[in-house]
Protein backbone atom coordinates (compact mmCIF):
# COMPACT_ATOMS: atom_id res chain seq x y z
CA UNK A 1 0.00 0.00 0.00
CA UNK A 2 1.29 3.47 -0.85
CA UNK A 3 2.74 5.31 2.17
CA UNK A 4 0.27 8.19 1.96
CA UNK A 5 -2.69 5.80 1.93
CA UNK A 6 -1.13 3.80 4.73
CA UNK A 7 -0.87 6.95 6.86
CA UNK A 8 -4.49 7.81 6.03
CA UNK A 9 -5.68 4.30 6.93
CA UNK A 10 -3.80 4.38 10.25
CA UNK A 11 -5.30 7.79 11.04
CA UNK A 12 -8.82 6.77 10.12
CA UNK A 13 -8.68 3.52 12.07
CA UNK A 14 -7.27 5.31 15.12
CA UNK A 15 -10.08 7.88 14.83
CA UNK A 16 -12.68 5.11 14.47
CA UNK A 17 -11.32 3.45 17.60
CA UNK A 18 -11.42 6.72 19.55
CA UNK A 19 -14.99 7.41 18.36
CA UNK A 20 -16.08 3.94 19.44
CA UNK A 21 -14.54 4.51 22.86
CA UNK A 22 -16.13 7.95 23.31
CA UNK A 23 -19.58 6.73 22.24
CA UNK A 24 -19.50 3.95 24.84
CA UNK A 25 -17.72 5.97 27.54
CA UNK A 26 -20.95 6.34 29.54
CA UNK A 27 -21.06 2.56 30.15
CA UNK A 28 -18.24 1.62 32.54
CA UNK A 29 -15.83 -0.89 31.01
CA UNK A 30 -17.98 -1.76 28.02
CA UNK A 31 -15.96 -1.07 24.89
CA UNK A 32 -15.28 -2.29 21.38
CA UNK A 33 -11.64 -1.16 21.42
CA UNK A 34 -10.46 -4.69 22.22
CA UNK A 35 -12.47 -6.08 19.28
CA UNK A 36 -11.09 -3.43 16.92
CA UNK A 37 -7.46 -3.96 17.97
CA UNK A 38 -7.87 -7.71 17.55
CA UNK A 39 -9.20 -7.14 14.03
CA UNK A 40 -6.45 -4.63 13.17
CA UNK A 41 -3.74 -6.98 14.46
CA UNK A 42 -5.17 -9.88 12.44
CA UNK A 43 -5.49 -7.99 9.16
CA UNK A 44 -2.80 -5.32 9.18
CA UNK A 45 0.94 -5.40 9.52
CA UNK A 46 1.91 -5.55 13.19
CA UNK A 47 3.82 -2.26 12.87
CA UNK A 48 0.68 -0.54 11.52
CA UNK A 49 -1.42 -1.91 14.37
CA UNK A 50 1.19 -0.56 16.83
CA UNK A 51 1.00 2.84 15.13
CA UNK A 52 -2.79 2.83 15.53
CA UNK A 53 -2.31 2.15 19.26
CA UNK A 54 0.04 5.14 19.51
CA UNK A 55 -2.25 7.54 17.59
CA UNK A 56 -5.30 6.25 19.49
CA UNK A 57 -3.57 6.86 22.84
CA UNK A 58 -2.48 10.38 21.86
CA UNK A 59 -6.00 11.36 20.76
CA UNK A 60 -7.47 9.82 23.93
CA UNK A 61 -4.97 11.87 25.94
CA UNK A 62 -6.08 15.05 24.16
CA UNK A 63 -9.72 14.25 24.93
CA UNK A 64 -9.52 12.96 28.50
CA UNK A 65 -6.39 14.72 29.73
CA UNK A 66 -2.75 13.73 29.60
CA UNK A 67 -1.79 11.56 32.56
CA UNK A 68 -0.02 8.35 33.57
CA UNK A 69 -2.89 6.17 32.26
CA UNK A 70 -1.56 6.96 28.77
CA UNK A 71 1.57 4.96 29.54
CA UNK A 72 -0.70 2.07 30.50
CA UNK A 73 -2.73 2.42 27.30
CA UNK A 74 0.43 2.41 25.21
CA UNK A 75 1.90 -0.78 26.59
CA UNK A 76 -1.32 -2.67 27.39
CA UNK A 77 -2.94 -2.20 23.96
CA UNK A 78 0.42 -2.84 22.31
CA UNK A 79 0.66 -6.07 24.27
CA UNK A 80 -2.77 -7.09 22.94
CA UNK A 81 -1.62 -6.34 19.38
CA UNK A 82 1.51 -8.40 19.99
CA UNK A 83 -0.41 -11.35 21.47
CA UNK A 84 -2.87 -11.33 18.54
CA UNK A 85 -0.07 -11.00 15.98
CA UNK A 86 1.71 -14.02 17.46
CA UNK A 87 -1.39 -16.19 17.78
CA UNK A 88 -3.40 -15.20 14.69
CA UNK A 89 -1.97 -17.99 12.53
CA UNK A 90 -3.07 -20.57 15.09
CA UNK A 91 -6.46 -19.09 16.04
CA UNK A 92 -7.33 -17.94 12.49
CA UNK A 93 -10.94 -16.63 12.39
CA UNK A 94 -12.28 -18.66 15.29
CA UNK A 95 -14.63 -16.19 17.02
CA UNK A 96 -15.00 -18.44 20.08
CA UNK A 97 -11.29 -18.31 20.86
CA UNK A 98 -10.95 -14.59 20.13
CA UNK A 99 -13.93 -14.04 22.45
CA UNK A 100 -12.19 -16.04 25.18
CA UNK A 101 -9.00 -14.07 24.66
CA UNK A 102 -10.95 -10.79 24.79
CA UNK A 103 -12.71 -11.93 27.98
CA UNK A 104 -9.41 -12.83 29.64
CA UNK A 105 -8.03 -9.53 28.43
CA UNK A 106 -10.91 -7.63 30.06
CA UNK A 107 -10.38 -9.48 33.32
CA UNK A 108 -6.62 -8.82 33.26
CA UNK A 109 -6.92 -5.17 32.22
CA UNK A 110 -7.14 -3.93 35.82
CA UNK A 111 -4.27 -6.19 36.80
CA UNK A 112 -2.09 -4.72 34.05
CA UNK A 113 -2.84 -1.21 35.29
CA UNK A 114 -2.25 -2.37 38.86
CA UNK A 115 1.23 -3.55 37.84
CA UNK A 116 1.93 -0.09 36.51
CA UNK A 117 0.57 1.49 39.71
CA UNK A 118 2.78 -0.83 41.76
CA UNK A 119 5.81 0.29 39.76
CA UNK A 120 4.95 3.99 39.97
CA UNK A 121 3.40 4.29 43.44
CA UNK A 122 4.38 1.16 45.39
CA UNK A 123 3.15 -2.41 45.78
CA UNK A 124 0.39 -1.51 48.26
CA UNK A 125 -1.06 1.07 45.89
CA UNK A 126 -0.99 -1.44 43.04
CA UNK A 127 -2.61 -4.17 45.12
CA UNK A 128 -5.34 -1.83 46.39
CA UNK A 129 -5.95 -0.55 42.86
CA UNK A 130 -6.41 -4.08 41.56
CA UNK A 131 -8.62 -5.18 44.47
CA UNK A 132 -10.92 -2.14 44.20
CA UNK A 133 -11.27 -2.61 40.47
CA UNK A 134 -12.16 -6.31 40.34
CA UNK A 135 -15.87 -5.52 39.96
CA UNK A 136 -15.00 -3.36 36.94
CA UNK A 137 -12.78 -6.12 35.55
CA UNK A 138 -15.61 -8.64 35.76
CA UNK A 139 -17.88 -6.32 33.78
CA UNK A 140 -15.05 -5.80 31.31
CA UNK A 141 -14.54 -9.56 30.98
CA UNK A 142 -18.20 -10.36 30.29
CA UNK A 143 -18.76 -7.44 27.92
CA UNK A 144 -15.57 -8.15 25.97
CA UNK A 145 -16.48 -11.82 25.63
CA UNK A 146 -20.02 -11.11 24.41
CA UNK A 147 -19.02 -8.26 22.08
CA UNK A 148 -16.28 -10.26 20.39
CA UNK A 149 -18.41 -13.41 20.23
CA UNK A 150 -21.22 -11.55 18.47
CA UNK A 151 -19.36 -8.98 16.38
CA UNK A 152 -16.01 -10.50 15.47
CA UNK A 153 -17.13 -12.51 12.45
CA UNK A 154 -19.24 -9.85 10.65
CA UNK A 155 -16.87 -6.94 11.35
CA UNK A 156 -13.71 -8.91 10.59
CA UNK A 157 -15.23 -10.11 7.31
CA UNK A 158 -16.23 -6.60 6.25
CA UNK A 159 -12.92 -5.12 7.37
CA UNK A 160 -10.91 -7.73 5.46
CA UNK A 161 -13.05 -7.24 2.38
CA UNK A 162 -12.59 -3.45 2.36
CA UNK A 163 -8.89 -3.64 3.22
CA UNK A 164 -8.19 -6.20 0.49
CA UNK A 165 -10.00 -4.02 -2.06
CA UNK A 166 -7.83 -1.09 -0.97
CA UNK A 167 -4.70 -3.17 -1.41
CA UNK A 168 -5.81 -4.35 -4.83
CA UNK A 169 -6.65 -0.80 -5.90
CA UNK A 170 -3.50 0.87 -4.60
CA UNK A 171 -1.04 -2.00 -4.63
CA UNK A 172 1.65 -3.01 -2.17
CA UNK A 173 4.24 -0.43 -1.24
CA UNK A 174 7.02 -2.94 -0.51
Amino acid sequence: MKPILRVAVIGMLAATTVASQVVLAFVPNVEVVTLLFIIYAINLRTSDAFLIVIVFTIIEGLIWGISDWMIGYLWIWSLLVLVVSITKKIIKDNADIWALLAGCWGLAFGLFFALQWALLYGINAGYAYWLKGIAFDLIHMASNYIIVLLLFTPINKQFRNIYQRLEVAYGHHD
Binding site: N29, G65, A128, K132, L149
Partner: protein, 151 residues
Protein backbone atom coordinates in the same frame (compact mmCIF):
# COMPACT_ATOMS: atom_id res chain seq x y z
CA UNK B 1 -28.16 -15.24 16.71
CA UNK B 2 -28.26 -19.03 16.82
CA UNK B 3 -29.13 -21.03 19.92
CA UNK B 4 -25.53 -22.04 20.63
CA UNK B 5 -24.30 -18.44 20.59
CA UNK B 6 -27.23 -17.32 22.73
CA UNK B 7 -26.37 -20.02 25.25
CA UNK B 8 -22.75 -18.82 25.39
CA UNK B 9 -23.89 -15.23 25.93
CA UNK B 10 -26.28 -16.23 28.71
CA UNK B 11 -23.60 -18.40 30.32
CA UNK B 12 -21.09 -15.54 30.23
CA UNK B 13 -23.63 -13.19 31.80
CA UNK B 14 -24.56 -15.67 34.54
CA UNK B 15 -20.90 -16.38 35.33
CA UNK B 16 -19.90 -12.72 35.42
CA UNK B 17 -22.95 -11.71 37.49
CA UNK B 18 -22.29 -14.51 40.01
CA UNK B 19 -18.62 -13.55 40.26
CA UNK B 20 -19.60 -9.88 40.63
CA UNK B 21 -21.99 -10.54 43.51
CA UNK B 22 -19.57 -12.99 45.15
CA UNK B 23 -16.90 -10.29 45.04
CA UNK B 24 -19.28 -7.65 46.45
CA UNK B 25 -20.32 -10.04 49.23
CA UNK B 26 -16.88 -11.24 50.29
CA UNK B 27 -14.91 -8.07 49.75
CA UNK B 28 -16.20 -5.83 52.51
CA UNK B 29 -13.98 -3.34 54.34
CA UNK B 30 -13.43 -3.91 58.08
CA UNK B 31 -15.55 -1.41 59.92
CA UNK B 32 -15.53 -0.18 63.51
CA UNK B 33 -18.82 0.02 65.38
CA UNK B 34 -19.69 2.38 68.24
CA UNK B 35 -19.11 6.09 68.65
CA UNK B 36 -16.13 7.57 66.83
CA UNK B 37 -14.78 11.07 66.91
CA UNK B 38 -13.53 12.38 63.59
CA UNK B 39 -11.98 15.61 62.49
CA UNK B 40 -13.52 16.92 59.31
CA UNK B 41 -11.75 19.66 57.39
CA UNK B 42 -13.28 21.13 54.24
CA UNK B 43 -11.36 23.53 52.05
CA UNK B 44 -11.97 25.21 48.72
CA UNK B 45 -9.47 26.53 46.22
CA UNK B 46 -9.55 30.29 45.70
CA UNK B 47 -8.83 32.06 42.42
CA UNK B 48 -5.17 32.64 43.35
CA UNK B 49 -4.76 28.88 43.91
CA UNK B 50 -4.61 29.06 47.72
CA UNK B 51 -6.90 26.88 49.83
CA UNK B 52 -9.49 28.42 52.16
CA UNK B 53 -10.88 26.34 55.02
CA UNK B 54 -14.68 26.59 55.21
CA UNK B 55 -15.23 23.89 57.85
CA UNK B 56 -12.96 22.45 60.54
CA UNK B 57 -14.68 20.58 63.36
CA UNK B 58 -14.44 17.47 65.44
CA UNK B 59 -17.63 15.45 65.02
CA UNK B 60 -18.98 12.36 66.75
CA UNK B 61 -20.66 9.67 64.70
CA UNK B 62 -21.80 6.07 64.88
CA UNK B 63 -21.72 5.59 61.11
CA UNK B 64 -19.10 3.19 59.79
CA UNK B 65 -18.59 4.30 56.20
CA UNK B 66 -17.48 7.75 55.07
CA UNK B 67 -20.41 8.26 52.67
CA UNK B 68 -22.88 7.48 55.47
CA UNK B 69 -21.08 9.94 57.74
CA UNK B 70 -21.36 12.69 55.10
CA UNK B 71 -25.06 11.95 54.60
CA UNK B 72 -25.55 12.08 58.38
CA UNK B 73 -23.96 15.55 58.36
CA UNK B 74 -26.30 16.51 55.53
CA UNK B 75 -29.33 15.22 57.43
CA UNK B 76 -28.30 17.19 60.50
CA UNK B 77 -28.09 20.36 58.36
CA UNK B 78 -24.43 20.81 59.27
CA UNK B 79 -23.43 20.41 55.63
CA UNK B 80 -25.24 20.23 52.30
CA UNK B 81 -23.91 17.20 50.49
CA UNK B 82 -24.51 16.22 46.88
CA UNK B 83 -23.72 12.72 45.61
CA UNK B 84 -24.10 11.07 42.25
CA UNK B 85 -24.27 7.40 41.23
CA UNK B 86 -25.28 4.38 43.28
CA UNK B 87 -23.76 2.47 46.18
CA UNK B 88 -23.79 -0.62 43.94
CA UNK B 89 -21.62 1.07 41.27
CA UNK B 90 -18.15 -0.47 41.07
CA UNK B 91 -16.59 2.57 42.77
CA UNK B 92 -19.74 3.57 44.66
CA UNK B 93 -21.10 7.12 44.67
CA UNK B 94 -19.12 10.24 43.81
CA UNK B 95 -19.17 13.47 45.75
CA UNK B 96 -20.48 16.28 43.56
CA UNK B 97 -21.08 19.15 45.97
CA UNK B 98 -20.59 20.43 49.48
CA UNK B 99 -22.34 23.60 50.66
CA UNK B 100 -23.02 24.78 47.12
CA UNK B 101 -19.51 24.18 45.78
CA UNK B 102 -20.47 21.88 42.95
CA UNK B 103 -18.56 20.08 40.23
CA UNK B 104 -20.12 21.10 36.94
CA UNK B 105 -17.25 20.40 34.57
CA UNK B 106 -16.02 16.84 35.10
CA UNK B 107 -13.29 17.24 32.51
CA UNK B 108 -11.43 20.17 34.04
CA UNK B 109 -12.88 20.45 37.55
CA UNK B 110 -12.87 21.72 40.19
CA UNK B 111 -13.72 18.39 41.80
CA UNK B 112 -14.19 17.26 45.37
CA UNK B 113 -11.19 15.18 46.43
CA UNK B 114 -10.47 13.84 49.86
CA UNK B 115 -7.51 12.52 51.74
CA UNK B 116 -6.60 11.26 55.18
CA UNK B 117 -3.20 10.95 56.75
CA UNK B 118 -4.28 8.50 59.44
CA UNK B 119 -7.24 6.48 58.14
CA UNK B 120 -5.97 2.88 57.93
CA UNK B 121 -7.59 2.15 54.57
CA UNK B 122 -6.08 5.28 52.97
CA UNK B 123 -2.68 4.70 54.60
CA UNK B 124 -2.36 1.06 53.57
CA UNK B 125 -3.34 1.71 49.97
CA UNK B 126 -1.45 5.03 49.87
CA UNK B 127 -4.61 6.56 48.41
CA UNK B 128 -8.18 6.79 49.62
CA UNK B 129 -10.93 4.63 48.10
CA UNK B 130 -14.36 5.87 47.03
CA UNK B 131 -16.49 7.30 49.84
CA UNK B 132 -18.71 4.19 49.85
CA UNK B 133 -15.68 1.93 50.39
CA UNK B 134 -13.90 3.94 53.06
CA UNK B 135 -14.47 2.68 56.61
CA UNK B 136 -14.06 5.30 59.33
CA UNK B 137 -12.23 4.81 62.62
CA UNK B 138 -11.98 6.78 65.83
CA UNK B 139 -9.65 9.80 65.57
CA UNK B 140 -9.57 9.75 61.77
CA UNK B 141 -8.88 13.09 60.15
CA UNK B 142 -10.40 13.70 56.72
CA UNK B 143 -9.61 16.66 54.50
CA UNK B 144 -12.02 17.36 51.63
CA UNK B 145 -10.70 19.74 48.99
CA UNK B 146 -12.59 21.46 46.21
CA UNK B 147 -9.83 21.91 43.67
CA UNK B 148 -8.81 21.70 40.02
CA UNK B 149 -5.31 20.65 41.01
CA UNK B 150 -4.55 16.96 41.35
CA UNK B 151 -1.27 16.29 43.12
Amino acid sequence: MNKKTLLKVVLALVLATSAYFAYRTFYQPNTQDGVKELQLIIEVQEEDGSMKTIFDQRVETETEILADFLLEMDKGDELQIGLTGNVSDPYGRSLTSINGYETTDWASGPWWLYDSENNIECKEAEFCPGIDSCPIYDEDIFVFSYTSTIE
